[in-house]
C-alpha cells in the first residue's frame, strides 16, 4: 500500500447501523453482537443499533452520527435494498454526503427470516455480510446526476380502450399525441363485442363518445393502418419511424359515403368477424368505425375499377405506396392489447374439427347486433354462403343447448399456466345475453374450475346469470364427441361437486380460450428495447409498484399488452400511463442518476468488444487524439454492466459495481466467512437484482430455509458478472460459486443472462484447466417469483460444496496458515 | 296483562307439568291467561309439505285470538314459530291474506293483522322484564347445577321472531335461568338441535343427535337440563328412556321445564310445579323443595 493510499484509508470514517426491525431481525439475530463485531472492523468509527432504523428517529440517529463523528461512509444493515436503500441514500444526501457513499446489508431477507431456527448461525451470517459491506463501502465513489431537456410529445401505440384513454388524457393536458393503430381504424377488440360487462352497455356507444372526443382535441393526431418500425434516441428525445400501409383510399379526400363498399362485387371471408361472415374487397369493419374510411384489400381485389367509377370524391387511388412517417417524442405508451388463442392444440375439444365447437370471441361475433346474423347465435354446421345473395345463409334450427368451457388453454401447464382473468366474466356475459335477449329457454351449461368474478359489480353480475337459470357445473370437461350425422356434440365432464362423470348433449360448445398478447408484441418489444415475460406479455417494471413502467425510461405500457385485463382496468392503466408520461415530461427536463457505465480512457485499447455487448448501442468506439477509445452515451446507457463484464482490460466499468468495489466485497465476505464459519463449506452467489435476488427476497418473505453458508452479492444483471469476480471469489476461499439470472427471453436488459452464461461456460473450462474444477461454478435461471427454486439451488450448491470439499486453494492456504 | 293462552296439541296430551307450572308462574307475575277454547293445531307439521294447509290452520288460530282482541302466548317453540311466521306472512302479503280470509269466512273469522304471537320466554323477557321477575324471587337456586337448551324454532329463522334472540348463540333463556342464581353451566353441545323433528323420518339421525348431547351432558353431572319446548323436552326425556331400553345406554340427565325452575325460585314446592310428574326425577331438586 502506498503512502497516499494509506492516508486515504485513514481518512475513511465509517458509521455502521443495525436495525432490529421490531422482532423481524432482532428475534433471530443477536444485534448487539453484530454491532460489537462491526465496531472492531477497521475504519468503523461508530456502530449503533435501532429498533426501527427507517423511522424518523432512526434516520435522525444516522444523520446526527454523520455530523457528530464526521462520517464519510455509511453502512446500514436492515431489510433488502429494494425497500430502503433509497431511504438511506436520501439520509446521506440530507446530511451533505453523496448518496452513493452508502452500502446496504440485507440482514432480514438473507438472514433473520431464512435462518430463524438458528440464532447463532443467523448472527454469524449477518456478521459476514456486514464485513463485506464495510469493506466495499471504502471503495465507493460519488456518483452525480445530469439534466436532460425533453420533448413534450407522446406516441401511443394501439387504439383500444387503454390507448384511447391515454391519448385523451395527454391531449387534453396539452401534450402533442400521436395515436397509432395497426388496424385501419381504432377501437381494438372492444369494438367487436355486442355488450360489455358488468354494466352490459353497448361498446360502440362508449367508443363513439370517445371517438368524438378524439376529434375535438386538436393535439391528438390519429394515424391508422400503421406500424412502428424503428426507434432511436433516449428518454425524452425518442425518434420513431412509422410505416403507414397503403389504404388505396385518399384519407383527405374520402367523405365516408361508402358507395364503393356497397358496389364492390367481390366477397371474401371477413377477419373481423372471425371468418363467420363475408366482406367486399374494399371494406370497412364496422359501421361506426373511426376513421370512417374504407380500405382496399389488394389481394382480394379483382381490379374491376367499379369503386373508382362510383366514388364521388375521386378518393380511390390504386397506386398508393407505403409511407414512412418520422416522429420525435418524449415518451411512448404501448397499448397493443391482446388476441384470442385459437385452441386447435386442445384436440380433445375438437376445435377446428367439429364445426359447432367455437370460441367465445366467435360467439361474441354471433351475439353482436352488427354481426353476421345480427345477434342471433347459429350452428356453424348450418351456415352456408349463398353465392347469389352474396351473403351468409343459416339453414336449420338455432342452437338450444350450449356448453361453455372455461379455462381452455389457460391455467394449463401444457399450454399457458396463467389465468386469462376475464374469461369467467365474458362467459357469464354471453350466457346472460343468450338467456335475456335470444332465448330464455336455452339450456346453458357453464363448465368451470373456479369462477373468478372479483371486481366491483362482478359478483352481482354472476348472481344474475344464476337467477336466469344458467346451469353451473364445476369440472373441466375431458372430451367432446360429435355425432357425425346430427352434428350434435356430447361433452364428457366430471361434475366434481356431484363426484361423478356426466355427459351433456350440446348444439354449440363454446371455448373460453386463452388471451394472448397481440401478434407482433415480441417484435415491437425488441424495437422498443423493452422486455416480455415468460408468458409473452410485455413485462412491467414491477408488478406492484411499477405496473405501467418498463425497464426503459420513458416507455410505458397500458392495458392487456402486459397481461389479460378487462375494460375498466385497461382504461385505468391508460390514464395511469398518461400520468406517468406527464410526470416525466411535465417540467421539460429530467434528472438522471449516472450510475451507469464509464470508460477509463487510459486502459481502453479500442477493441470494440463493449460495443458488441451493449444491447442499447450506448457505448461506441470513437477516434480520439489518443487513438481509438470507447465512449458511453450516459443518457442511453441503462446500467446493466454487460460491457464491463466483457471488457478485456477492465477499462469499462459500471459505476458502483466497479472491479475494486466488487473485489472488496468478495474479500470482506470471504475473509470473515473463513474466520467465522471455519471448516464449513462456503458458497458465494451473485444474484441479478431483477430475478434471482428478488427470488431470495421472496424466499425471505416465505421464510424458506436454506443453509446459512450461502452469501449473496447483488448485481444489476447477471450480465454484469466478470470472470475476474469468479476467480477472485475462489482465490479468497469460496468453495462453490454460482450466478442466478433471469430465464432466457426474460432478461430485463435483453440478453445479459445469455452473455453471463457464455462467460460462465468459459470460466468453467478455465477452472477445469487450473485444477479448481469447473463443477464448482454454475449458472441458474431463477425467475423472481420462484422462491422455492432459489432455496433449492442454495441447498443443492451447499451439498455440492460438501461433496467436493475445500478447493485446492483453500486447502493450500489452510496448510500454510498452520505452518 | 291479559294474553290468549295457546297450548297446542302436545302439552295438554303429554305434559301437564309444563302447563301447570306455567300457569302458576304467570299467575304469580300477574298475567291473566285467557284459554283459547276452539284452537286447532298450529299447522307446524304441515309447513314442510303443504304450504296452503299450514297457512290456513295457523290463520284460523290467529283470527280466533284476534276476535278476542288478545296477543297470543305459546309454550311451544314450534307453535310460536308457526304462528308468528304465518302472522308475519299474512300481514305482508295481501294476496295470501285475501285467500285465507276467503277460507276463514266460513267460520265467521277474519285475519286483520292486529295481534302479535310470542313464546312465553319472550313475554317474560320483554313484557314482564327481568327486574319484575327478580322481585318475585324468594329462593336462590345457587346449590344446583343446571344446563339450558333453548331449541331451534324459537330463535330461527330470526326474522319470524323479530330477532328476539341471537339465532346462532341464544342467550335469553340463560339470562332467565341466571336470575335464579342457579349454577348455569356452559357445555359443548349447547346449541345442538334436539333432533325431535327427524323422528319418524330418520330415527337414526334423531337418536344420534340425542346421544351426542347426552354424552356431553353426562360429563357435567347436571341436576337438570332446562327446556322451553315440549318437543325438546320429550326428545330428551323419552329419548333417554329409549336409549336405556334399546341400546342399554344410561345417562340419567333429569329434564325440566323452565317455569318449573322459576316456580321453585318464586317459592313454590316441587309438587306445586309438578316435578313429581317428570319421568327422570331431578332428585336433588325435589329433595330440596319438598
Amino acid at each position: 500500500m502506498s503512502e497516499k493510499e494509506k492516508k486515504k484509508n485513514e481518512e475513511i470514517r465509517i458509521g455502521f447501523f443495525q436495525c432490529h426491525c421490531g422482532v423481524n431481525i432482532a428475534g433471530s439475530v443477536d444485534v448487539k453482537e453484530v454491532v460489537e463485531y462491526a465496531k472492531k472492523l477497521p475504519n468503523v468509527v461508530v456502530a449503533k443499533d435501532h429498533m426501527f432504523l427507517c423511522s424518523d428517529p432512526g434516520r435522525n440517529l444516522v444523520k446526527e452520527a454523520i455530523k457528530k463523528y464526521n462520517l464519510n461512509r455509511v453502512v446500514s444493515s436492515h431489510c433488502t435494498p429494494s425497500l430502503h436503500q433509497e431511504t438511506f441514500r436520501t439520509v446521506l444526501k440530507e446530511a451533505g454526503l453523496n448518496p452513493f457513499f452508502h452500502e446496504n446489508v440485507n440482514s432480514r431477507e438473507h438472514a433473520s427470516w431464512v435462518h430463524y431456527r438458528d440464532k447463532k448461525k443467523a448472527t454469524d451470517k449477518v456478521k459476514v455480510l456486514v464485513a463485506g459491506g464495510i469493506e466495499r463501502v471504502k471503495h465507493h465513489k460519488p456518483i452525480g446526476t445530469m439534466r436532460l431537456k425533453v420533448k413534450k410529445s407522446v406516441l401511443v401505440i394501439g387504439g383500444g380502450p387503454a390507448g384511447i384513454q391515454a391519448a385523451l388524457d395527454l391531449g387534453k393536458a396539452g401534450y402533442k399525441v400521436y395515436l397509432v393503430d395497426r388496424r385501419p381504424h381504432l377501437g381494438g377488440n372492444m369494438a367487436r363485442l355486442g355488450k360489455v360487462f358488468p354494466t352490459d352497455d353497448c361498446p360502440i356507444c362508449i367508443l363513439g363518445k370517445k371517438f368524438h372526443e378524439l376529434r375535438q382535441v386538436k393535439e391528438i393526431e390519429v394515424i391508422t393502418y400503421a406500424e412502428v418500425k424503428e426507434l432511436s434516441g433516449y428518454v425524452g428525445n425518442y425518434k420513431v419511424k412509422i410505416e403507414k400501409k397503403p389504404r388505396y383510399v385518399d384519407e383527405e379526400k374520402c367523405i365516408g359515403c361508402l358507395t364503393c363498399v356497397s358496389k364492390c362485387p367481390v366477397r371474401v371471408k371477413s377477419e373481423w368477424y372471425e371468418g363467420m361472415d363475408v366482406r367486399p374487397a374494399i371494406y370497412i369493419n364496422y359501421p361506426a368505425q373511426f376513421p370512417r374510411i374504407p380500405v382496399r384489400d389488394p389481394e382480394a381485389c379483382i381490379n374491376c375499377g367499379v369503386c373508382k367509377k362510383v366514388c364521388p370524391a375521386d378518393a380511390i387511388d390504386f397506386d398508393q405506396k407505403p409511407e414512412t412517417i418520422e416522429l420525435e417524442v418524449g415518451a411512448i405508451i404501448v397499448a397493443t392489447g391482446y388476441e384470442e388463442w385459437k385452441p386447435y392444440a386442445v384436440e380433445e375439444y375438437g376445435y377446428g374439427k367439429y364445426k359447432n365447437v367455437i370460441t367465445q370471441l366467435e360467439l361474441a361475433q354471433m351475439l353482436n347486433p352488427e354481426g353476421p346474423t345480427h345477434g342471433k347465435p347459429f350452428k356453424p354446421s348450418d351456415a352456408r354462403y349463398d353465392k347469389k345473395k352474396r351473403k351468409l345463409v343459416i339453414e336449420g334450427e338455432p342452437p338450444k343447448k350450449y356448453v361453455f368451457i372455461h379455462c381452455v388453454g389457460s391455467r394449463d401447464e401444457k399450454y399457458f399456466s396463467y389465468c386469462s382473468k376475464i374469461c369467467c366474466m365474458y362467459s357469464i356475459k354471453h350466457a346472460k345475453m343468450i338467456l335475456m335477449d335470444v332465448d330464455p329457454n336455452a339450456e346453458i351449461y357453464l363448465c368451470y374450475m373456479d369462477i373468478r368474478a372479483f371486481s366491483k359489480g362482478y359478483e352481482e353480475y354472476y348472481k344474475q346469470v344464476q337467477k336466469l337459470g344458467a346451469r353451473i357445473v364445476r369440472g373441466k370437461p375431458a372430451e367432446i364427441r360429435e355425432d357425425p350425422k346430427t352434428k350434435k356434440l356430447y361433452v364428457k365432464v366430471e361434475d366434481t361437486l356431484l363426484g361423478k362423470p356426466i355427459e351433456i348433449e350440446a348444439d354449440l360448445v363454446v371455448l373460453a380460450s386463452t388471451l394472448r398478447p397481440s401478434k407482433g408484441t415480441k417484435e415491437l418489444a425488441d424495437i422498443l428495447r423493452i422486455t416480455t415475460g415468460e408468458d409473452g406479455f410485455l413485462r412491467e417494471l414491477h408488478p406492484k409498484v411499477g405496473p405501467v413502467d418498463t425497464v426503459t425510461a420513458g416507455i410505458f405500457i397500458a392495458g392487456a399488452a402486459s397481461g389479460p385485463k378487462d375494460i375498466p382496468e385497461s382504461v385505468a392503466q391508460g390514464s395511469a400511463a398518461a400520468a406517468r408520461a406527464m410526470s416525466l415530461l411535465g417540467k421539460g427536463e429530467v434528472e438522471i442518476i449516472l450510475n451507469k457505465a464509464e470508460v477509463n480512457q487510459e486502459l481502453c485499447i479500442g477493441c470494440g468488444i463493449c460495443e458488441t455487448l451493449c444491447p442499447y448501442g450506448a457505448i461506441k468506439v470513437h477516434e480520439t487524439h489518443l487513438g481509438r477509445k470507447a465512449k458511453v452515451s450516459e443518457v442511453e446507457c441503462q446500467g446493466c454492466g454487460a460491457c464491463a463484464g466483457g471488457c478485456p482490460t477492465g477499462a469499462v466499468m459500471r459505476r458502483n459495481y466497479e472491479l475494486d468495489q466488487m473485489f472488496a466485497q468478495i474479500e470482506g465476505i470471504l475473509r470473515s466467512a473463513k474466520e467465522i464459519f471455519k471448516d464449513e463449506p462456503i458458497v458465494l452467489a451473485f444474484a441479478c437484482k431483477q430475478c434471482a435476488y428478488a427470488a431470495s427476497e421472496a424466499a425471505g418473505t416465505s421464510r424458506l430455509e436454506y443453509p446459512p453458508n450461502v452469501f449473496i452479492i447483488r448485481i444489476p444483471c447477471s450480465g454484469t458478472i466478470d470472470i475476474a469476480h469468479v476467480l477472485k471469489a475462489f482465490k479468497e476461499g469460496a468453495d462453490v460459486v454460482y450466478v442466478g439470472g433471469c430465464e432466457p427471453g426474460s432478461c430485463a436488459f435483453v440478453d445479459g443472462n445469455l452473455k453471463a452464461e457464455k462467460r460462465i461456460q468459459f470460466a468453467k473450462r478455465l477452472l477445469d484447466a487450473i485444477g479448481i474444477g469447473g463443477d464448482r461454478l454454475e449458472i441458474f435461471w431463477i425467475p423472481a417469483p420462484e422462491s422455492m427454486k432459489f432455496a433449492e439451488v442454495a441447498k443443492m450448491m451447499v451439498e455440492r460444496a460438501k461433496k467436493l470439499g475445500p478447493t485446492p486453494l483453500r486447502k493450500a492456504k489452510a496448510v500454510k496458515e498452520v505452518i | 296483562m291479559k294474553l290468549a293462552f295457546y297450548l297446542g296439541c302436545v302439552i295438554p296430551a303429554k305434559l301437564p307439568n309444563y302447563e301447570l307450572s306455567a300457569r302458576k308462574v304467570f299467575e304469580k307475575l300477574g298475567v291473566e291467561l285467557v284459554d283459547m277454547e276452539d284452537f286447532i293445531c298450529c299447522g307446524f307439521p304441515f309447513e314442510l309439505f303443504n304450504h296452503e294447509t299450514w297457512l290456513k290452520m295457523a290463520a284460523y288460530n290467529l283470527a280466533l285470538a284476534e276476535k278476542q282482541g288478545l296477543n297470543i302466548v305459546t309454550l311451544c317453540n314450534g307453535c310460536a314459530n308457526s304462528l308468528a311466521h304465518a302472522n308475519k306472512l299474512l300481514k305482508e302479503d295481501s294476496k295470501k291474506r285475501e285467500e285465507v280470509n276467503e277460507f276463514l269466512k266460513k267460520y265467521g273469522l277474519e285475519f286483520k293483522g292486529t295481534i302479535e304471537v310470542k313464546h312465553f320466554i319472550r313475554v317474560l323477557y320483554e313484557d314482564i322484564g327481568l327486574d319484575k321477575i327478580k322481585e318475585n324471587i324468594t329462593k336462590e337456586l345457587s346449590e344446583f347445577k343446571l344446563a339450558t337448551h333453548t331449541g331451534c324454532h324459537v330463535v330461527r329463522p330470526s326474522e319470524y321472531m323479530d330477532s328476539f334472540d341471537n339465532p346462532i348463540k341464544p342467550t335469553k333463556l340463560d339470562e332467565l335461568v341466571n336470575i335464579t342464581k342457579a349454577n348455569n353451566i356452559n357445555y359443548l353441545t349447547k346449541n345442538l338441535c334436539c333432533g325431535n323433528t327427524s323422528r319418524g323420518l330418520n330415527d337414526n339421525v334423531s337418536i344420534e343427535l340425542l346421544r351426542r348431547k347426552m354424552k356431553d351432558l353426562s360429563k357435567h353431572e347436571v341436576d337438570a337440563l332446562v327446556t322451553i319446548c315440549p318437543a325438546c323436552y320429550l326428545q330428551y326425556e323419552m329419548g333417554q328412556l329409549e336409549l336405556k331400553t334399546k341400546f342399554k345406554e344410561v345417562y340419567n340427565v333429569p329434564v325440566v321445564h323452565y317455569p318449573q325452575i322459576l316456580g321453585l325460585a318464586m317459592g313454590m314446592s316441587a309438587k306445586e310445579v309438578g316435578l313429581d310428574m317428570n319421568k327422570i326425577k331431578p332428585k336433588k331438586i325435589i329433595e330440596a323443595f319438598k
Binding site: G475, K476, T496, P501 | -
Partner: protein, 181 residues
C-alpha cells in the same frame, strides 16, 4: 404420510392438483371405481391413508395414461396408481385373490425365467384358483380354440443371465431397506 410415500415412489406431486376433474372425466374405468382419480388425489392430499388404500381405484387403473395426457397440472395419476399399488403390496393388501395370484406368478416368472411365460401362466393361474368354476367352464371352449390355433406355447422361454436379474432385484430391495433407515 401417504402423500410423501406416493411422491417418493412415483416422482409425482399430488399437491399440484386443483381438482378440475379432467382425469376422472377422461378415465375409461372410472365408472367402476370407488373414487375417481380426482377424489383419490384429494384423499392423498389430506393424507387419509386408510381411505386411500381401501379404495379399488388404483387397482382398476388400466394405465392408459389418458388422465396424464390431459392433466392441466402435469400430474400423472397413472404413476400415482402404480405407487399406491406398490404401497399396498408392501402392506399385503390386494383387491382380490385373482390379482394376488396374477402378481405373484408374474414376479415369480420374472425371477425364475426373466420373461413372462403365458403358457405356464395359464396353468399356474388355474391351479392356484385364479379363476372361478363358472368362468372356467365358459373359458374351456376358448382355451380349446387357442390351443388348436397353437397359441398356447409349451416351451419355457428363459434368459441366460438370470443372475443379473436377481442382482438387480436384490439391489432394489437393499436400497429400499436403506431408505427406510
Amino acid at each position: 404420510m401417504i402423500a410423501e410415500e406416493v411422491s417418493k415412489i412415483s416422482g409425482e406431486n399430488p399437491f399440484a392438483c386443483f381438482q378440475c376433474g379432467d382425469c376422472t372425466g377422461s378415465c375409461p374405468v372410472s365408472f367402476a371405481m370407488d373414487y375417481g382419480p380426482r377424489r383419490m388425489i384429494h384423499l392423498i392430499q389430506l393424507n387419509l391413508e386408510e381411505e386411500v388404500l381401501k379404495a379399488n381405484t388404483h387397482w382398476l387403473c388400466a394405465s392408459c395414461y389418458n388422465c396424464t395426457y390431459r392433466c392441466p397440472r402435469n400430474i400423472s395419476f397413472t404413476r400415482i396408481s402404480y405407487a399406491l399399488r406398490n404401497i399396498s403390496v408392501k402392506r399385503g393388501i390386494y383387491p382380490n385373490k385373482t390379482t394376488k395370484i396374477f402378481y405373484e406368478i408374474f414376479l415369480d416368472h420374472m425371477l425364475k425365467y426373466g420373461r413372462f411365460n403365458e403358457g405356464i401362466f395359464v396353468r399356474e393361474f388355474v391351479a392356484k384358483g385364479g379363476k372361478g368354476l363358472k368362468e372356467l367352464l365358459r373359458d374351456i371352449n376358448l382355451g380349446l380354440k387357442l390351443w388348436k390355433k397353437g397359441k398356447i406355447p409349451k416351451d419355457v422361454d428363459k434368459i441366460d443371465k438370470l443372475d443379473q436379474i436377481k442382482k438387480i432385484y436384490e439391489a432394489c430391495v437393499k436400497e429400499e431397506k436403506e431408505d427406510k433407515q
